[in-house]
């Protein structure tokens, strides 16, 4: 009867989507095995009210000035205090920038098992976590062999809860931070002026590669992405060429993404690029070379000049009703 705690990451008073995806998956699991799902909220408790609807049985909150700005040490201490007090068997943390920053630190503090970037969650007396390794060229099933585990969960790996959960009772816990001062903290957050959809969270991604010929043509990708409500990505070739910043790079040394739909435009499909996107649900390739390796990874392909197809595709999508 495992109890699963889920860390509910919030930004600007709303919970990240991955928080509710994890809550839902944990609930589906304990509905089979017994046990409870506990949502854990630090700082602003705005998101806590929703937790029950997303499948949590109980909500635990800790508040205080210490949570006004993020730092890994405070988060580590607070969640370690929670784990010590309530003894969940597993703590799920979204594989976001923040989650990846503190989760391993927390695991070290708890001397716990730590598994990053999980896409599958199972229990048969012990937890079994499924995760891609070698950037998705292979999957590993990992058995937890410790009393407690901290697991990172990849955004979009799990659907939301459809069971119509009830209100979950909330109680506060002591994060044990009396007098604690971290060695380092976030002092400033810089967000790009335009509100862009973040690659790792996007449901649809349109990526461009060297087939675009020159930097100015990346705007074709941005226009198509805008028409599809998608994030815009890139191959390393055009990142290295300086056409777009590295934050756009998809691949083994860029972002690993698994959107519902990935559209690769003028990208050859090098193994390092495939590594970052091959777990996407549906892959579309547009490339004028019918033998480009990207077609081997794709579900739908158009072997034609991107300069003709991309504007037409934008129009065709806009014309769908």
């Amino acid at each position: 009867m495992p109890n699963i705690a889920v860390y509910i990451e919030q930004s600007g008073g709303t919970a990240k989507k991955v928080a509710w995806q994890m809550t839902a998956e944990a609930r589906r699991l304990v509905d089979r095995t017994g046990g409870e799902v506990w949502a854990v909220v630090l700082g602003d408790a705005a998101g806590a009210a929703e937790a029950g609807r997303h499948g949590a049985h109980r909500v635990f909150t800790a508040s205080g000035d210490a949570f006004a700005r993020y730092d890994a040490e405070t988060w580590t201490r607070a969640l370690a205090a929670f784990v010590a007090a309530r003894r969940p068997d597993l703590l799920l943390v979204g594989a976001t920038a923040t989650g990846k920053d503190f989760a391993p630190r927390l695991a070290a503090r708890l001397d716990a098992a730590c598994v990053s970037d999980c896409v599958g969650l199972d229990f048969d007396g012990g937890f079994r976590l499924r995760r891609p390794i070698f950037a998705g060229k292979c999957y590993a099933e990992v058995a937890v062999e410790a009393p407690v585990a901290v697991a990172g969960v990849r955004p979009n790996a799990f659907p939301l809860f459809a069971g119509g959960g009830a209100d979950a009772p909330a109680e506060s816990f002591d994060p044990g931070l009396g007098g604690f001062a971290p060695h380092a903290a976030v002092v400033e957050t810089l967000t790009s002026a335009e509100k862009k959809i973040e690659l790792t969270e996007a449901e649809v991604i349109v990526s461009g590669g060297r087939g675009l010929k020159e930097a100015a043509n990346y705007q074709l990708i941005e226009t198509l992405a805008a028409a599809m409500g998608a994030a815009a990505g890139a191959s390393r070739a055009i990142v290295d060429a300086g056409w777009v910043p590295h934050s756009h790079q998809v691949g083994q040394t860029g972002k690993t993404v698994s959107p519902k739909l990935y559209v690769a435009v003028g990208i050859s499909g090098a193994i390092q690029h495939l590594a970052g996107m091959s777990s996407s649900k549906c892959i579309v390739a547009i490339n004028k070379d019918p033998n480009a390796p990207i077609f081997k990874a794709a579900d739908y392909g158009i072997a034609a000049d991107l300069f003709e197809v991309v504007p037409a595709l934008r129009d065709a999508i806009a014309a769908l009703d």
Binding site: A97, Y139, V187, V284
Partner: protein, 260 residues
């Protein structure tokens, strides 16, 4: 200033994983091993800091790895400007999980009073991105992860960290563990004469026993390695007329794949 750079030897990014069927073992025999690409940014950053500070700075490259890793230490660390190297040679730690690695690295790092500990953002074999933050906890010091810019002051650092849709600026006291991301710098390549000279720099090989440490126990075990889920063959949309092809694709994505 004393800087430690933690480096791992990993299968190169061209590596194909061949798995006929799911199983408990991964055949790693044919892998070509290279310096983890993110660790190259860590090495380069250390060398640039040393170049700024002059002689008053020493860089130690640290790895836990088999004899194969000696070449990585020499060619990719010592030959590009690290001053010395420490290798922990423990066959039992081959394919260790990050917490085991971090515990042993922490034991090595406690022996020197390092001001700055640089690691890669993640190792491209296990893709864990865990060792850096774990080290910071075990050493009870500052951390900054996925760093694209690093500035050092008197006992303090300021790091720009990549986050969703932007950057976070982290400021704190030294010592600090900093995990390095692409964009931090452009790693240099070793020159042939420097590779020759690298062999003369001090290199130490240790075991856990030398560190007064038992081999840390694993907390997880990989039970099965499996190939990625198979994908159906690509459906090519006739492309003689690009506009018609685009319309057909849009229709397929909506009605067949149901993704838009």
């Amino acid at each position: 200033m004393k800087i430690a750079v933690c480096v791992k030897q990993v299968p190169d990014s061209e590596t194909r994983i061949t798995l006929a069927a799911p199983g408990p073992e991964l055949d790693r025999s044919g892998f070509t091993r290279v310096l983890n690409p993110y660790d190259a940014f860590a090495v380069e950053e250390a060398v640039r800091i040393k170049e700024r500070l002059g002689a008053d700075c020493e860089i130690t490259a640290v790895t836990i790895g088999s004899d194969r890793a000696v070449e990585t230490l020499k060619k990719d660390c010592l030959a590009v400007g690290c001053d010395r190297a420490i290798r922990v040679n423990e066959p039992a730690l081959e394919n260790a999980e990050p917490l085991q690695t971090a515990k042993v690295l922490a034991a090595v790092l406690r022996r020197g009073a390092y001001d700055l500990i640089l690691t890669g953002k993640q190792a491209i074999d296990d893709d864990s991105a865990q060792v850096g933050p774990m080290l910071a906890e075990l050493l009870d010091c500052s951390q900054a992860t996925v760093v694209t810019k690093l500035e050092l002051g008197e006992g303090v650092f300021t790091a720009t960290c990549e986050i969703e849709g932007g950057a976070a600026v982290v400021r704190g006291s030294l010592p600090a563990v900093v995990t390095c991301q692409k964009g931090l710098n452009e790693p240099r390549l070793p020159s042939l004469p420097n590779i020759m000279k690298a062999g003369m720099k001090p290199q130490e090989t240790l075991t856990c026993a030398d560190l007064g440490l038992e081999i840390p126990a694993a907390r997880t075990r990989v039970t099965t390695y499996s190939p990625p889920p198979p994908r159906a063959a690509c459906r090519m949309v006739a492309a003689d007329d690009p506009a018609a092809a685009a319309r057909e694709l849009a229709r397929l994505l909506r009605d067949e794949a149901k993704v838009i």
